[in-house]
């Protein structure tokens, strides 16, 4: 298949930008002019359509395939979300209008305000910032909030504790925010080892980042002990809420005692993942951190007017240019509005039911390192297949692709070797899940009877087993022009 550049023909026009007056370029002083070629293709609108529409057909996606990618909550994205975020009143509004004429953008401001309060209620927190663009961005926001909090109390702390099952963004965010990471292993229960935690804990610890339920899909039974220990040392409790989908209406980070939680709206609240983003990593905080939240924030005046407010002298400052990925916020607000209280609870119940159904049905075929009731996802290991037949998690993933399923997340969490992390989400039907289970069982059996079949999968895809080492070694990052 050709690149768009290979379709290029000198002089061919796509979209006509409009009639430029002769000699318009004279309006730009010689010395400021671009000399080099922009290296853009010259193709027709039809060329562009055919090219990218055909490219799209090379993808697996939620709308075309079951996509149980663990930790990513690849649920169905209601199409009305898209329609609402595209309304001219939202899509065509300039963000600086909030700075120069808030009365003309009351709709946008009210939406942010209302979504914020709903998310505060969902998490049991005091206040919210919609600025973070994604989960990791929310984590960094949280880390900086910790720093500001401790600074305000005259403490400069050094460490942030992160259990080793945590997502890579947790330690990365802590480091980016200026802290040294102390990592704590999980115990055989699959949660952070509480005794080790108590040992490592000290007054230099600024905060603890806990994923709840964690990346093994488990709810920490001793969460209350952890909270208590952290409190003793005035360590901020940070909840990575990427897995909130499992506990909506069942338990709230705020009620547990967390001070900060980030949500991945693109996961829990069904905004499309877009091939890698955009997301939204809204952060909610408890009373004691409210003053430090990023500015500006959206407030409501007694007269019922919505406006932006910069008057937090303690604020860490802006984390984003404006209010975050507003278009994503609209989608999440539509989703929450449609489902409402009962609908959100139903989401968690069905997500957890689906995950446990898979867990139980597959555990005789794949090792289940921690055999406990799981929450929204279950994590298997291909250990058995590796030892007996040299079939690895990646081979199982490729065999699933061959059978028309997007693979689960593999090799994460790192604490499980040969991890196969399956998150079905609540929007998948029993029929779909049964089909997936069947495929997984068939693969497990073939791994024994005919392992080569699995190691050579997939055979029905545009490419198979690209050489990643070569890609990193020879580093070809742009098309030949």
């Amino acid at each position: 298949m050709k690149h768009i550049f290979e379709l290029s023909v000198p002089g061919r026009i796509g979209v006509d930008a409009g009639g430029v007056s002769a000699g318009a370029d004279a309006l730009l002083d010689e010395r400021f002019r671009r000399q080099s070629d922009s290296r853009l293709p010259e193709v027709s609108e039809l060329d562009v359509m055919r090219h990218y529409i055909r490219l799209s057909q090379l993808n697996f996606s939620v709308d075309t395939h079951f996509y149980p990618l663990g930790s990513c909550t690849m649920k169905y994205n209601p199409k009305v979300n898209e329609a609402m975020s595209a309304l001219p009143g939202f899509a065509d509004t300039h963000p600086l209008m909030a700075y120069i004429g808030e009365e003309h953008v009351q709709g946008c401001l009210e939406l942010i305000y209302n979504l914020s309060s709903m998310l505060a209620e969902i998490t049991g927190m005091k206040d919210v910032t919609t600025q973070p663009y994604a989960g990791a961005h929310g984590e960094l926001t949280g880390i900086l909030l910790m720093a500001a909090y401790h600074k305000s109390r005259g403490n400069k702390k050094k460490f942030v504790i992160v259990p080793d099952e945590a997502h890579g963004t947790n330690p990365a965010s802590a480091a980016m925010g200026g802290y040294t990471v102390i990592s704590i292993p999980v115990d055989k229960e699959g949660g952070m080892d509480v005794d080790l935690f108590r040992e490592k804990m000290n007054d230099e610890v600024a905060g603890v980042m806990l994923t709840l339920p964690n990346t093994l899909g488990l709810f920490h039974r001793r969460i209350c002990d952890i909270v208590e220990i952290a409190r003793k040392h005035d360590a901020i409790l940070y909840n990575d809420g990427a897995n909130l989908n499992a506990i909506l209406g069942k338990v709230r980070p705020g009620d547990i005692g967390f001070d900060i939680v980030h949500m991945n709206l693109h996961k829990t609240f069904s905004t499309p993942h877009g091939g890698g983003g955009p997301g939204a990593g809204v952060v909610a905080v408890s009373e004691k951190l409210v003053d430090f939240l990023p500015s500006p924030s959206v407030v409501k005046t007694p007269q019922g007017l919505y406006k932006i407010d910069f008057n937090h002298d303690k604020s860490i400052g802006p984390m984003a240019s404006f209010f975050g990925n507003f278009g994503v916020l609209v989608r999440a607000a539509v989703y929450i509005m449609m489902l409402g209280r009962e609908g959100l609870i139903d989401v968690s119940e069905k997500a957890v039911l689906n995950a446990n159904y898979i867990r139980v049905k597959l555990k005789e075929y794949y090792d289940l390192p921690i055999d406990r009731t799981c929450m929204h996802e279950c994590v298997f290991s291909a250990r058995r297949q590796v030892q007996k037949n040299g079939v690895h998690a990646i081979d199982i993933a490729k065999a699933l692709i061959e059978r028309g399923f997007h693979p689960p997340t593999i090799y994460f969490p790192l604490v499980v070797d040969e991890a196969i992390m399956i998150e079905p989400t609540e929007t998948e039907s029993k029929e779909t899940i049964d089909g997936f289970i069947e495929a997984m069982i068939e693969i497990a059996k073939l791994s024994e009877t005919d392992p080569e079949r699995i190691k050579n999968a997939p055979n029905n895809t545009p490419v198979s087993r690209p050489d990643e080492t070569r890609a990193a070694r020879e580093l070809k990052l742009t098309c030949n022009l």
């Binding site: 001219p88 509004t93 120069i100 609908g343 446990n356």
Partner: protein
Amino acid sequence: MARFTPHTDRDVRQMLDDIGVESVDKLFTDIPKNLRPESFDLPAGKSENETVSIFNDLARRNRTDLVSFLGGGYYDHFIPAAVDTVSSRSEFFTAYTPYQPEASQGTLRAIFEYQTMIAGIAGLDYANASLYDGGTALYEAIAMAVRTNNRKKVIVDAGVNPLFKRIIRTYVINIDVDIIEVDLKEIYTDTDRLEAHLDENTAALVVQNPNFFGIVNDFGELFEKAHTSGIVNILVFYPISLGIIKTPGEMKADIAVGEGQSLGMPLSFGGPYLGLMAVEKKFVRKMPGRIVGETVDRDGRQSFVLTLQAREQHIRREKATSNICSNQALCALRAVVYLSLMGKEGFRNTALLCLERAEYMKAQLKKIKGVRVMDGQTFNEFTAVLPLPAGDFVDRMFAGGFAAGLPASVFYKDKDSHLIIGVTEKRSIKEIDDYAAAARKVLS
């Protein structure tokens, strides 16, 4: 109430029986009873029909009738309809990060082309795909510089977008990097003064072109000087301007970052936007974010994969070049489609039209008594000094149906009468004439 869980009661019963659990509640027993929500007070669910009317009303509470000359780094550029056609393809927008190349060649190939085009317009070697927005991209560039020469001081021109400057100040509150801001000469970037600040302890020099007041510069010489003391040159660029304006590459910038919104993203009240980053060859392995590389598969077929993942958080954890994971991939897709549709000529002509219309606006305003249009080369945005506070002027222009521009005082307290006016190719001659007429009324 809308519901997206397909489970019938029979399904639930059967699944529970199959796994030998008597009720769904039993699946939540790990959650201590005492932690059950004190409240979960949310509105009742609604049908799609009801929800749509609620959001239609909300959207109507934003004015869509204003003719806008508001810029400030975010512009009302034309977006060809074909961009939406592609980005609304389910296979693109409901997929996630292309971890599995066999199931993601569509996204991978599109991103690969995106990297090529961004490097192409910036006149540099490589680009990543993608960062959150222009402001966070600038911080990532600074962090790269600091990692490169292990220095702490960053010289930032006051003409860099204030929204970006605020973000980088937030990012450094708990790490030891000093941001030193160098004042403008009124609205002009003062290269001499910038140069005076450069020394062996300087990690990076950050300038923007055009600057926030619209002034176009050539930083070639300044960058050359900076290089001699091992400083990393970071240029903040406006992608549309590169249709005609000297590129970061031509000025010998090391890292170029920019806000990609103007490449096919609706203004959408602040996002999703697109953080652009292009770099000179030697910085490639220090770049944050996703990078797609070409390789071959087991049968020798051309293939595309995420590469240099060893830089990233999911492998490197606390040692990663950045914490970024989800990014603005769909916006990058929109950008590559936008740039493909525009092509060489459309890209250049869009820039020329912007320039032309802005100059036309200048000419009209110059005719109005009391208005002073600031001198200097500009692109599609310029600064006018008004005989009254710019904020008052803007308020009165709203009544006439115009978003008249950005009062500089929003970000530069001392510049009370300066108005920054942005003009894109979408603004017709007639709209500009009407603006001038309305302005004349307001000012008389």
